[in-house]
């Protein structure tokens, strides 16, 4: 979530769901929270009962809209304009929180001369390099190039101060433009702008909730950036009832970005070293130089990195071998999901482990993903049930249509049954950064095994093989410190893993106090006492920590804090452990005035206790506990000592919230509206239609409809149902869930049904350039046609939970979507494309494609966007400096 990461410092929700109850207004946009986060939604309902205004901005009237005071429909993919309109309203109506903006954000910082805004560049900022299809962000930085010590104009009058740039940038986002682009009537927009801004100020706060309705766009990160700007202008970050609640996906998806399953990030948001010609991070020192900030929390990056290496390689990480630095792989190109599937399709990938994912259904352009799997030599699937990604070789549309024949497929498939979440112990990190340890309820049946067991057993065998070899390539394996004590079932002890994540002193003789599970599998002393805080991590090899941001979860007191179950106070401290350091609302220094007293009685959270000379309050202060509000750093001071006492955003060098992002994003320091890759209209805001830095995956198998393509006059968007979970592996196989939503359907308006001449319940086929699927027509006034850019636009909405396997089968909506990747996080555009609806059933079997050709005319026009680069063009600047450092993560 670099949208949040670059704005505030950390790539996680700034608040906790419980805190939503204190809001005066909640704007839910890009999420159907009631449907997909029903348990957390209780706090929204509580807020509503407390008198808060609930606003839902969503293209379709969902169960969330039903609970809102105000439902506002917009066209998918136009959120920047909608939010930008509110930003403009805030600035022109002077509805911003003046003191907060001046003191806590970088509104006052002066940007370097030479920066050119997109308003003046036809959608492009300065620094665009067409040849690389990427920005050089040098010109985006502050005057004086020193992010730690920006020049500020606290009157906000300097023409190059962020505030003035912002004003100019958003001046065009008027209610009229909002209507033209989003389809939202001006009076509705006006109501949202008024209600939201009126609910912010010293004694009021407004919160925002979003999920994949924002992220899965070619401008996803910039949508979140717009929201961040708005929340900073309203002074809602770090305050009770404020914040931005990023609602995450799978149960521990936050955990799997903190300790990532991503190709370009290491635990604790450390970047993976690069091995390209321009960015040669072969040496640890180069790496540390590239990423260590003089001031702020990132000043200690060397300690975090070296402690991580010590946890990986134990005694084999020494000062001499650069703490094992060279054992880490380097990345030299995009290896994100879509990129490696493209390589797989091209036959460049031999083997594949698929654990807990179902790309044959959930993956974008899933027909392509299934075909890619058929190019593998072997694959291992670990899942609870035999999902589509495991049985595509004998049951899939491709088999049915004769595109693949089972005995011609060379892929060898190993299906290994996995243990479910109740069948194994360990922690989940939930959407609000809360770690909760869960015990095993029952043992897994039969041959089902947990991930821990599988990885552990695989590692032991691989390490043994590596030890028997002398190949230099095997050295990283030989170097691994695979010490974990085992349970009776041959699993690594989950708490031993947690202890390692927390971190310890590496010297086994450093004292016996505070040692937790100090012996390795063979009974030898392995490490010293646990450490209690990431401030204690060292860059001299004396500490190890598997993920610095989690430090404190299992400290020297030996208490597994993720396992605590005694909630107390407003936020339930004492239940689990919220990273960092059990802070539930982060950046909460901002909940107090610059002088350390609360902004108001209603909205107090943490404050400076002048008597005891420390920060205190309802939450753990996200600040150095004893740093006084009036603290002034010495000019050369480093780390936290280099930041002022009124600088709440401690991960940023300047300690400020970034309205303007001087570094860290691929597609600009400020948000700009670009149309979705497939759009019914030309961009009314800029001459350029699409995000310049997006990765198009220009391939023959990835056709795209140009703007306004008459073959596909309608907009298709996708959503989830409460009754199902994602690709269906965890719901379509369960009778009690599957019976609740047994069949694929498409939601459309009565007006559109009339246009098509169909009736509620009819079978229709939805087609795009990628293919077609059948669905029942769910005709409802919940779907409204919109007036966009002067004409009526029909939209259809489809859930994405069905596939070809299991007891409840149905069309998979991802067969319809195209491949593209947002430039910052490589996320697909899963929420919008162009389609047509054929009011008849779709033929199955080999005749499908003939029928499709007849109905769709795929060859009648060019299937390429005019702005799409030719095949083989650079795919955007993913690997440029600064990337990954600011809490980059993938909202899955």
């Amino acid at each position: 979530m670099p949208g949040l990461g670059t704005s505030f410092g950390r790539g996680g929700a700034t608040t906790a769901q419980q805190d939503l109850q204190f809001a005066n207004c909640i704007l839910i946009q890009g999420s159907s929270m009631a449907e997909n986060h029903p348990v957390g939604f209780r706090w929204v309902m509580k807020a509503r009962e407390n008198g808060a205004t609930i606003i839902h901005v969503d293209p379709r009237y969902s169960r969330t809209s039903a609970m809102a005071d105000l439902w506002v429909p917009i066209r998918p993919g136009t959120d920047i304009v909608f939010l930008g309109g509110i930003v403009n309203y805030t600035l022109t109506q002077e509805r911003y929180f003046h003191e907060y903006v001046v003191r806590y954000t970088n509104a006052s910082c002066i940007v370097k001369e030479g920066f050119q805004d997109s308003e003046d560049g036809g959608g492009f900022f300065s620094g665009w390099e067409e040849a690389r299809r990427a920005y050089d962000p040098k010109s985006w930085t502050y005057e004086g190039d020193d992010l730690g010590h920006p020049q500020r104009d606290l009157t906000l009058q300097h023409p190059r101060c962020v505030f003035q740039i912002l004003k100019r940038h958003f001046a065009r986002y008027t209610p009229e433009l909002v209507q033209r682009v989003t389809g939202c009537p001006p009076d509705l927009f006006q109501q949202v702008a008024e209600k939201f801004t009126a609910a912010s100020g010293p004694d009021k706060t407004a919160a925002m909730c979003y999920a994949v309705g924002w992220t899965q766009h070619s401008v996803g990160v910039q949508i979140i950036r717009t929201a961040s700007i708005l929340q900073l202008l309203q002074g809602n970050i770090g305050r009770p009832g404020g914040g931005i609640m990023a609602l995450r996906g799978h149960a521990s998806i936050q955990g799997s970005t903190d300790i990532p399953t991503l190709y370009d990030a290491l635990p604790g948001y450390l970047p993976v070293p690069r091995g390209t010609k321009e960015h040669d991070e072969e040496k640890l020192d180069t790496f540390l130089n590239n990423y260590t900030n003089p001031t702020g929390l990132w000043h200690s990056l060397p300690a975090y990195t070296i402690s991580l290496l010590k946890s990986y390689y134990g005694t084999r990480a020494t000062k001499e071998n650069e703490w094992g630095w060279r054992f880490l792989p380097r990345i030299n190109r995009d290896h994100s999901h879509l990129a490696y599937f493209a390589e797989m399709f091209e036959g460049k990938v031999e083997g594949f482990f698929l654990m807990g994912q179902n790309p044959a259904v959930g993956g974008q352009h899933s027909r392509f993903e299934r075909l890619a799997l058929s190019k593998l030599k072997w694959m291992v699937v670990r899942d609870l049930v035999e999902i589509e990604s495991a049985c595509w070789w004998y049951r899939s549309p491709e088999i049915e249509r004769g595109e693949l024949t089972t005995d011609q497929i060379g892929t060898e498939i190993f299906f290994l049954p996995a243990a479910g979440h109740a069948e194994k112990a360990g922690t989940f990190t939930n959407t609000q950064r809360l770690l909760q340890f869960r015990e095993k309820a029952v043992s897994p049946p039969g041959d089902c095994r947990s991930e821990n067991w599988f990885i552990h057993q695989l590692a032991k065998r691989l390490i043994a093989k590596a030890r028997a070899s002398t190949d230099r390539l095997d050295e990283p394996l030989r170097a691994l410190d695979w010490w974990y004590p085992e349970t009776e079932d041959g699993e690594p002890e989950p708490e031993a893993i947690l202890a390692e994540i927390n971190g310890w002193k590496t010297d086994p003789n450093a004292g016996s106090d505070g040692v937790f599970m100090g012996k390795d599998r063979d009974g030898h002393p392995h490490h010293g006492p646990q450490i209690g805080d990431y401030m204690d991590l060292k860059d001299d090899g004396s500490t190890a920590s598997g993920c610095w941001i989690y430090t404190g979860v299992l400290g020297p007191d030996g208490v597994n804090k993720a396992h605590r179950r005694k909630p107390e106070g407003r936020y339930g401290h004492g239940w689990g452990f919220a990273w960092p350091s059990d802070r539930h609302i982060i950046y909460n220094r901002a909940s107090a005035r610059p002088d350390g007293s609360p902004w108001s009685k209603e909205k107090e959270l943490v404050w400076w206790d002048a008597q005891r000379k420390q920060w205190t309050g309802h939450d753990v202060a996200d600040f150095k506990k004893t740093k006084a509000p009036d603290f002034e750093p010495k000019p050369d001071a480093k780390g936290l000592e280099g930041q002022r006492g009124d600088a709440p955003f401690i991960l940023h060098e300047d300690g400020l919230g970034w309205i303007y992002v001087p570094r860290g994003l691929q597609d600009g320091p400020l948000p700009t509206h670009f149309e979705p890759i497939e759009s019914p209209i030309q961009n009314p805001v800029y001459p350029r239609n699409t995000n310049p830095a997006v990765n198009w995956f220009t391939r023959d198998y990835n056709p795209k409809a140009p703007p306004g393509d008459p073959r596909f006059p309608f907009v298709l968007s996708t959503f989830r149902l409460t009754e199902h979970h994602t690709a269906g592996g965890m719901s379509r196989w369960l009778s009690h869930l599957a019976e609740l939503q047994p069949e694929m359907f498409v939601e459309l308006s009565p007006e559109f049904a009339e246009h098509l001449g169909i009736t509620h319940g009819d079978h229709v086929t939805v087609v795009t350039l990628r293919g077609g699927i059948e669905a029942r027509a769910m005709v409802s006034r919940r779907i409204r046609p919109l007036l966009v850019d002067g004409r009526q636009l029909h939209q259809v909405f489809m859930p994405f939970h069905w596939g070809a396997a299991g007891p409840f089968q149905g069309g998979s909506v991802n067969d319809l979507l195209e491949l593209t990747a947002e430039p910052n996080i490589s996320i697909h555009e899963g929420k919008v494309c162009l389609c047509n609806v054929i009011p008849e059933r779709m033929p199955r079997g080999p005749q499908f494609w003939d029928w499709f050709k007849g109905k769709v005319q795929p060859d009648a026009r060019p299937n390429r966007h005019p702005e799409e680069p030719p095949p083989g063009a650079p795919d955007g600047g993913r690997l440029v400096p600064g990337h990954g450092q600011h809490g980059k993560s993938h909202t899955l």
């Binding site: 009565p750 049904a753 009339e754 001449g757 009736t759 509620h760 319940g761 005709v779 409802s780 006034r781």
Partner: protein
């Protein structure tokens, strides 16, 4: 199938009229069209059916009976055999042991077949005996179970005893004990038999099913008379002829005709339309026609066996008719609503929709 608007059709008409006027006057129409209520959508082609359905997607408000054909059969058999024992008792007044014997065998056969049919229909047949776990007079089903049991306890030995008595009389070796026992058993079965033949009416009448409970007074009478007529008819078909039987035949047919007339004249509009409409109405009406007018006609022409056959067929058919009418009426939400509100009020137009009065006064303070 799908949309079940709540709106009264008039409401649509009113708005449609406005739209037409507006179109004529201005050439363009602004504002909303018409919309179906409670349905997920208005069907582009609305039909009177979709407009007429009420409630929640036109789904049943109450559960239709789960009973299968066995229960209809049981009503028939139970009614016939119960009343047969009454005839057996009455025949004794004439010392007609032959008729008594035949009637008692009918009763006994009924006493065996009835529980068999009942058990057959149970969800858990092996637990039939639980029927006698408690005695609950407020439950016609419980009452009926005990009646049936008592009836069986009297009728089956009663038939044997009557047979014995009959044979002894034939052989001229009467036995006072047997005689006394037989009479006791016959009177016992007769007194339970009349209840067996009538309680089934109460069984249907004391339910939530509108077509049934609206006729709770008629049903026991209707079923009782049908049982009586059937018993007499069966005896006639078995070759017994007596003025009493004939008069009973006449009387039963006449009374069933009266029932038919009552049902046809005292209609409860939608609430019991299942008695008059559709398959269930047809079954019921033809059954009643057979029992009532038709067998009267046959009798008038002196065709007793035909009249008897007609009556029996009618009695069986009406029982199925009632069951299926019950099923239909339970399935139709309009029937349930109509039974609870004298007449469905026309839906107020959307703009002047009156607010339902709260059933509880809101608390004074909060």
């Amino acid at each position: 199938m799908i949309a079940t608007p709540q709106n009264h059709p008039d409401n649509f008409e009113e708005r449609l009229h406005q739209l037409r006027e507006e179109a004529l006057a201005k050439g363009v129409v602004t504002g909303a069209g018409v919309h179906a209520a409670a349905g997920p959508m208005p069907e582009p082609t609305r039909t009177p059916e979709t407009l007429n359905t009420v409630g929640y997607y036109g789904l049943p408000i109450i559960k239709p009976p789960v009973w299968k054909w066995m229960i209809g059969g049981y009503f028939f058999v139970g009614g016939l055999s119960g009343m047969a024992s009454l005839l057996a008792a009455a025949a004794l007044l004439k010392r007609d042991w032959a008729m008594s014997r035949a009637a008692m065998w009918c009763a006994a056969a009924g006493a065996v077949v009835s529980p068999a049919l009942l058990i057959w229909d149970l969800g858990r047949p092996q637990r039939f005996i639980n029927m006698l776990r408690v005695f609950k007079p407020q439950s016609p089903m419980s009452l009926g179970s005990w009646v049936l049991t008592a009836f069986g306890a009297a009728a089956i030995p009663g038939a044997v005893l009557t047979e014995l008595q009959f044979r002894m009389l034939e052989r001229g070796t009467p036995n006072a004990a047997i005689h006394g026992l037989a009479i006791a058993a016959i009177v016992g079965s007769a007194s339970t038999g009349v209840l067996l033949a009538t309680y089934t009416g109460a069984l249907l009448g004391v339910t939530a099913v509108p077509a049934w409970h609206l006729h709770r007074k008629v049903l026991p009478f209707h079923f009782g008379i049908a049982g009586l007529g059937s018993a007499a008819a069966l005896l006639e078909l078995l070759g017994f002829r007596s003025p009493a039987l004939r008069l009973i035949g006449y009387g039963a047919a006449a009374l069933e005709t009266a029932v038919l007339v009552t049902l046809e004249t005292r209609k409860h509009a939608e609430a019991d339309e299942a008695l008059h409409k559709g398959k269930s109405g047809l079954t019921l009406r033809s059954g009643e026609a057979l029992e009532g007018p038709l067998s009267l006609v046959f009798r008038a022409f002196g065709a007793s066996p035909q009249a008897a056959g007609c009556f029996l067929a009618g009695a069986l058919l009406t029982r199925f008719g009632w069951l299926s009418a019950g099923r239909e009426s339970a399935k139709n939400p309009r029937a349930v609503l109509a039974s609870q509100r004298p007449a469905l009020p026309a839906a107020p137009s959307r703009r002047q929709r009156s607010i339902a009065k709260p059933q509880h006064q809101p608390a004074e303070s909060m």
